[in-house]
Symmetry: C3
Subunit: 433 residues, 3 copies
C-alpha cells in the first residue's frame, strides 16, 4: 500500500494489528495426518492452479495422478504466466516467499529450487510445526467423513467436523450403507436403525470435540419436513440397495437432511450449510475443477428449516456472488442464521469487499463469522487470511472515515469479533454428554 492518505495509513495500521492475532480457522479440508505440504506438488496441485491452468489452455491430462510429480509441477508452472493476474496466484506468490524463501518469478527456471525448498519428506513434523507457528494458527477445523475414526492427531488443534454430504446424497449407494454399518456398528436397514446409527455417529463426533456438522447443498434441493411414514419404504429400499424412483430419492434426501438438523439440535452442533454447487458441471475438467453453480437459488427455500430449528445455529455460505445480499438480509432477521466467510467462487477480493461492507453495515457484529480458509494444506491458511485481513482493514478504514463517532478502536473491536471471538463462540466447544 504505497498510497499515504489518512485512509491508507489507517488501513495499514489495522492490518498490522490483525497480523499479530492468532488465526482461528472454522472450515478447511486439512488432512490432520499430513497438514502441511511435503512436496511442491501439494501446493501447486491445489485445484485452483490446475483448473486455472487448464482453463488457460493446459490439457487436463498434464495433471493426472499418473504424471510424475515434478513433471506435473512443470506443466502447471509453464502456464502460470497466463494467470499471474489472479488472486490465486497472489496466494501462491505469498506462500513461495513466506514459506519457501523464493523471490522472483514463478517460472520454469524456478522449478528446481522450488521442488527442493518444498521437499519436507524428511522433516515433516517439524515443517508442520513451522508452518503452524509462522501462521500463528490457533485452531483449524477439519472436514471429516462420517466414518472417520477421528484418531491420531491433536484434536485441540485440528478440530473435527462432521461432513454429511454422503449421508444425504448417497445413501442409496451400497458403499455408503456399508460404511455406515461399520462406523456405527449397527445393522442399518430401516428408518429406526438409520436413526440409531446416525445418532451414534453424532455422539462419537461430539465426544471427539467436533464443533460443527456440515453439508454442501446442491441447487436442486429444497429442505422440507419429511415424514417417517412417507420415507419408510424408500429408505428401506435404499438401505437394501434396491432401485429408487426419482421421487423416492427426493424423499430420502429430505428425510435424512431433516434428521441431521434434528441431531444438530439434540447435540447442539451448528449446521454449516454451503449452498449452491452443481457437481460435475464440466466432467472433462481437472480433479476438483469440475463444479459450478446455478445462480437461481434463494434462501427463501430455507425459511421452514430456519423456523423449525430455531435452536440450531446455521452458519451459511452461498456460492453465487450475486446471492450475497440475500444472506445479509436473512442474517439480519433470523437469530439462528449467521454469515460464514466467503466461499469458493465468492472468495475473490472484489466480491468479498462488497459483501463485507454490507455485512458490516447491516448484520449485528456478534453474528458474523469473518473468514475461513477452505484450505487443503496448512500453507494456504496464512495468505488467504491475509487477503481477507487486507480487505477488512481497507473496508474498516473507509467506515471509520465515513461514520461519525467511529475510531480505530471501534474498527479493531469489530475486526476482533469477525476473526476471533465470533467463530469461537458460534462454533462452541460442545461438552460431551
Amino acid at each position: 500500500m504505497s498510497s499515504s492518505g489518512p485512509k491508507e495509513s489507517l488501513a495499514g495500521n489495522l492490518y498490522q494489528e490483525m497480523l499479530r492475532w492468532p488465526i482461528f480457522d472454522p472450515h478447511s479440508h486439512i488432512d490432520p495426518h499430513r497438514p502441511a505440504a511435503r512436496h511442491f506438488d501439494e501446493i501447486l496441485g491445489y485445484h485452483y492452479y490446475t483448473e486455472l491452468a487448464h482453463s488457460a489452455g493446459m490439457p487436463a491430462s498434464q495433471v493426472l495422478p499418473t504424471v510424475a510429480r515434478p513433471q506435473r509441477v512443470r506443466n502447471i508452472v509453464e502456464h502460470l504466466n497466463r494467470l499471474d493476474n489472479t488472486v490465486q496466484y497472489e496466494w501462491l506468490s505469498e506462500i513461495t516467499q513466506t514459506f519457501l524463501g523464493h523471490q522472483g518469478p514463478l517460472d520454469l527456471n524456478a522449478v528446481d529450487s522450488l521442488l527442493t525448498q518444498a521437499d519436507h519428506s524428511q522433516n515433516s513434523a517439524a515443517w508442520d510445526e513451522h508452518v503452524w507457528t509462522t501462521s500463528k494458527l490457533e485452531a483449524v477445523f477439519l472436514t471429516n467423513e462420517f466414518d472417520d475414526p477421528l484418531e491420531g492427531w491433536d484434536r485441540s488443534r485440528y478440530i473435527p467436523c462432521l461432513r454429511t454430504d454422503d449421508l444425504v446424497l448417497k445413501l442409496h449407494e451400497p458403499k455408503t450403507v456399508e460404511r455406515l454399518k461399520q462406523a456405527s456398528n449397527i445393522d442399518v436397514g430401516d428408518e429406526k436403525s438409520l436413526r440409531l446409527a446416525v445418532a451414534s455417529i453424532f455422539a462419537h463426533f461430539v465426544k471427539c470435540g467436533a464443533r460443527a456438522c456440515a453439508i454442501s447443498v446442491p441447487t436442486d434441493f429444497v429442505p422440507r419436513p419429511a415424514t417417517p411414514k412417507r420415507a419408510a419404504t424408500p429408505l428401506r429400499r435404499a438401505l437394501h440397495g434396491l432401485d429408487l424412483r426419482p421421487d423416492e430419492h427426493e424423499e430420502i434426501r429430505s428425510f435424512v437432511f431433516w434428521m441431521l438438523a434434528e441431531f444438530c439440535a439434540e447435540f447442539q452442533l451448528p449446521f454449516d450449510l454451503m449452498i449452491g454447487p452443481i457437481r460435475n458441471s464440466y466432467p472433462a475438467g481437472v480433479a476438483g475443477g469440475r463444479d459450478l453453480f446455478d445462480r437461481r437459488v434463494s434462501l427463501a427455500d430455507y425459511h421452514s428449516l430456519f423456523n423449525h430449528f430455531s435452536g440450531v445455529t446455521f452458519p451459511i455460505s452461498t456460492l453465487s456472488p450475486d446471492a450475497a445480499p440475500e444472506l445479509v438480509a436473512h442474517c439480519w432477521i433470523f437469530p439462528n442464521v449467521v454469515p460464514n466467510g466467503h466461499w469458493w467462487y465468492s472468495n475473490i477480493p472484489t466480491y468479498i469487499e462488497q459483501d463485507l461492507r454490507a455485512r458490516i453495515q447491516a448484520v449485528p457484529k456478534t453474528k458474523q463469522i469473518g473468514y475461513y480458509s477452505d484450505a487443503y494444506k496448512l500453507e494456504f491458511i496464512l495468505p488467504k487470511f491475509n487477503m481477507y485481513r487486507r480487505i477488512l482493514a481497507d473496508v474498516l478504514a473507509q467506515e471509520v472515515m465515513r461514520k461519525p463517532g467511529w475510531t480505530e478502536d471501534s474498527a479493531l473491536d469489530l475486526a476482533r469479533h469477525l476473526l476471533v471471538e465470533n467463530p469461537k463462540r458460534l462454533f462452541p466447544a460442545v461438552r460431551s454428554t
Copy 2:
C-alpha cells in the same frame, strides 16, 4: 469526513449545501396524529432495533407490547453494543445527539436520561413542530388505509397516500369487505358495486390531496389483465365471505390490482409499487421484523402492466438488492417507470451507493426519485436523509472527478433533481375533479 483530498472536500461541500435544502419525503408511515415520538420507546421500538436486537440474541418476548415501556427500552439498549456497527445504529446515534442532546454511549447508564429527554407527553405539539423545523421538512407522504377518513391534520404537510394491500390481498376477509362498505357507503357485493366503492375511495383520497396509490406486491404475484367475466363469480364469493379455491384467490388479486391501475389512470395518481416481500417468513420474530424476500423476482413480469398503463407513472421500489440493476434498465426504457428511493433491505449505504451510481450513469436525471424515509416517527427522517445525502455527495464528487466537463454546479443540479424537483413533479398535486 476527516480525509482531505479534492474528492473529499468536494463531497463535503456538496453535503453542506444539501443540508440547507428542505426535505420532501415521498413515502413514510408517519401517524399524522402523533408524528414525532412522545416516548423514547417510540424511537427504540422501531422494528429495526427490535429485530436486530432479537437477531443478536434478545428474546422476542422482551419487546412484547405487554412489557412496560421503560423496561422494553432497557431490554433493547442492553443489546445495542452487539449491533453498534450497523447503519441503523448510526441513525439512532444521530437522533439522540440531534434531538435528545445526548452524547456518549447508548448504554444502560444512559437510559434514564434518554427516557427523560424523550418524554414529550406534555408538550407534544411543540415537539412535533420542533422536529419538523429542525429537520427542515417541507412535506411528508403518509400511508393511509383505504378507509382512513383523512381528517384531523394539516394535509399540506402530511400528504395522504392510498395504500391498497388489503384490497388486493385481503378482499376475501369479511373485515375488509365491511370496512369497504363503511368507507364507501356502498353495499359491495359484486364486481360492479366493488368498482363503484373503489371509485368513491379514489375520489375521496384525491379530494383530500392524495398524491399516490401504493401497494407492496408479494413475490408470487404477477400482474395480468383479468377479465370481469372470469372474475365475476370469485369476486361475488369473496365479497360474501364464501370459501375460495387458490385459483379464485389468484383471479381476485389480479382483477383488483388491474382495477386499481385503471383508477390510477383515471384519477392521475402514480401507482407506487413496492415489489418483493414475503410476509411472515419468520413468524417467531418481533413485530415488524418477520418479513423477508425471494430474490428470484423480475420486472419482466411487469411488462404488460407498464405497457397497458402507459399514462400511469409507476414509481418502483424493489426489495432484493441484487435486483437493482434491472430496475435501472427498466427506468431507462419505459417512460412511465421511475426508480423510487432505496427500500428496506436495500436501504444500506453500500447497496445505495452502487445503485445510485448506476442510476446516475444510466437514467435520465428528471426521472429519479432519490430517497424516501419510510419512517414511522418524524425523528427518523433527518438521519435517514442525511445518510442518503452523504452517499449522494460522495458519489457525485466521484462523478465530478471522473467526468470531463462536470462541475460542482452540475452535481448540485443533479442532486436537486433527485431530492427536490423530481418527487414534487412525479407525485403531482392532483387537482380534484
Copy 3:
C-alpha cells in the same frame, strides 16, 4: 482526473499509454458501406439517445423515420438536458468535441452548427478515413446477415461476422427460407438440404474472412442436443411455410442452434453468444429501444453446450448486470468459455468497473476479451473505448496499489492482453479450407 494521489497519477499514466494503442473492435453493427456518419442525425439517432429522450418524455412520434432529419435532431436535442447525467451523453459530448470541433452545451442553439459540421454527404470517403485514423482503428468486426454477399469493402478493416438470429428464431418465416435459398443456391426443404445450405453459408463467410458466428439468445431458450429424427417433421413444415405448434418451434430452435455450433466446430469459428434479451418488451418505444431482459437467466443452462463443443470458443456477453459474477466463474472453469466485453445494459461504468475487477482477479488474463463497441457508426468507437480505457486504467491502478509485486508494467501487460492480444488470438483469422 483532477485529483493527484499516487493512484490517480498512475491511472492517468496507464490511460495515456492506452490511448496510443490501436483499437481492435471485435463486435459492432457498422455498415461497411457507410461506416462513419454523413449527417448529425446518424449520430443523434443512435437508439441510446432516442430511447433516453423518449424515456425522459419525448413522444416516440418525434423521431419516426418520416420526420425530417434536422427536425428529428432538434426534437432529441431539446430533451438532452434531461439526460446530461448519463454516460451515453458523455459519449456524445466526446464525439462532438473530437470529431465536430464543438465546444459548449449541446442545446438548440448549437444545432445549426452541429448539422453543418456533421454534414459529410460530399466528402464521405475522406471522412470515413479521418474518423478511422483519428480513432486509431485497426479492425472492426461487423454484424452480417447470413445472406450478406460480403462484397464492396476492405475486409481486412471491416471483418465479416455471421449473425444467425434469423436462422434460429425465424426459420418458420417464408422470407427467411427464401433468403436462405437465394444465398445458398440450394432448394432448402428438409433437414438435409438445410444443413447443406447452412454449410455453404459458413463456407462463404469463412472464405471472406469471417472471424465469428454470433447470435443473441432469448431468455426462454435453453440449448440442448436436438435429434434430426425429432426435428425432421417440424423442420419440413417450417421450411414449407406450414403452421407449427409451440413444441415444434422449440424443436426447430434447438436443432438449428445445435447445428450452428456443429458448423462452428467444423469451420473453427468462435460462437459469440449474447445472452438475455427479451425483444419488444415495450412495443410503443422508439426503434431500437424496445428490448429489455429477464434477470432470471443462468449459464447453468449452457453446461451441456459448453461440454459438448469443447473445441469451440464461446465468447459470452450477458445482458443482466447481476449475472456478471456467474460468467466470471464459468470462464474460470471452462477452457472454451471467455468473457466478451460489457454489453448494452451492462455497458455502464459502475457495472463495468465491478465486473472488470472480478475478471482481473479470477479469470486467466489470456482469456479475457476486454471490450467491443457495439457501435453503428464509426464515431462511437473511440468514446466507448475511451470510457472503458479510463475504467481499466483506474481499476489497474488500484490493483497495482493493492497487489504486492505488481508494477505499472504488469498493469500495462494485462491491459494489452485485454484490449489487443486476446481479441486477435481468440477470434483468429481462419484460413479458408
